[in-house]
């Protein structure tokens, strides 16, 4: 499995897990319908409390990244997060703000910052 942890990063473990799964899904490394390891298996592999894995999985499901089958495991969802547009925008806004602030601090122009974002979107390919 591609998931790994950096215990000294200061980022809570469950957030690290969530971010990695989201990234893997966005980059196409994990495909729709693919199974994630079971809570117990991943917990033992990463030496973390099973509750932490369960929590990360719950949040991923809430965010529409994965779906779970009762008693049957957790799978990558079909890429249609069931969130309202307004909620999605609300979630993304802090990241946008961060990008804007850092861009400004580094004295990048508006165009340069926007181009960076576009380049990253291009890397993810067409999914619209």
């Amino acid at each position: 499995m591609l998931l790994h942890l950096n215990p000294s990063s200061g980022v809570p473990v469950y957030l690290q897990l969530q971010a990695q799964v989201k990234q893997a899904v966005a980059a196409g490394a994990l495909r729709t319908g693919e199974a994630l390891p079971s809570t117990r298996k991943l917990a033992a592999e990463l030496r973390i409390n099973p509750n932490t894995v369960a929590r990360a999985y719950q949040d991923l499901e809430r965010d529409g990244v994965t779906r779970s089958v009762p008693g049957g495991g957790t799978f990558v969802g079909d890429g249609l997060p069931g969130l309202l547009k307004s909620e999605k925008v609300k979630r993304l806004r802090p990241h946008a703000r961060q990008l804007a602030v850092e861009g400004r601090q580094l004295r990048l122009t508006r165009e340069e910052t926007l181009r960076l974002l576009e380049e990253e979107l291009d890397k993810l390919g067409d999914q619209a």
């Binding site: 215990p7 809570p12 473990v13 917990a43 973390i48 409390n49």
Partner: protein, 313 residues
Amino acid sequence: MSEVAIFIEGLSKSYGAHAAVSELRLKIQPGAVYGFLGRNGAGKTTTMRMLLGLVRPTEGSARVLGLDPTKEPELVQILERVGFVPQRKQLYGWATPAELVRMNKAYFPRWSDGAAAELAKRLEIPMNMAFKKLSIGNQSKVALLLALAQGAEVLVLDEPTAGLDPVMVDEILRTLIEDHISQGRTIFVSSHHLGEVEQICDWVGILEEGRLLLESRLEEIRQDFRLVIASGESLPVAKSTDLVSATTDGRFRRYVVAREAERFAAELRGQGATILEISPLGLRELFLHLVRKEDPCTPGNAGAKAVPVSSFS
């Protein structure tokens, strides 16, 4: 096993004028992996030794699986049902691990030869070398093997990874997690390695100078605890029961709040402060904020109020 695994109330231990543990209150649910954090000398070992009847409390009470360690017949049951890995392993030095296994086996009705053999193999323990000749890492593994094979309901581990190299630490953590997953044992583990605790535990208690500063589910710390950084001239000394600690650094003030960070921030804004950041904080940061008592803005020990609200409801 629905009873509380470990329950401590008003527990104190003094050595002369020195209070090693004072008025400790603690509650560990069955099946929890409870990380007992504190600096060196905070009272972690003394607390654990009181649970095992090795130290007599000056005041207060402790119950392990509902049993009182200060009463002889109940203590015998505790020793049978609780696996203890002390920091200083006082096992017979001349005996080999294989001999220690044979000696221990006789005392524990629920002893599992299968578990002992599997652990010996997986942890790569040299079973036929005298205990005193083993490395510290191997000695720790032997102590852990004995505790796990004993068929205990509760494991009390006093800094099980102290002095071990990273590979051994990783092996011990894996063993504990796998055991927890398959057996559902309650694990009470002391440490000052915050990363390890954050990894394997679901509850934490933070001890400082014999007192519990905080007891919480890790989940709650993740979800509700926030670091609020504010700036402004003559910032108000905020008084809130949700406030865990506050430190000042020039024009900036860092607040750790136990819940409702947004509301807390709004109050600060109302008093003219600029909020720079509201962010979740890791165990390491929380620990440092709690035990460094620079500029505490609540009377007494900062964070003490967080204890009853978050844990005894």
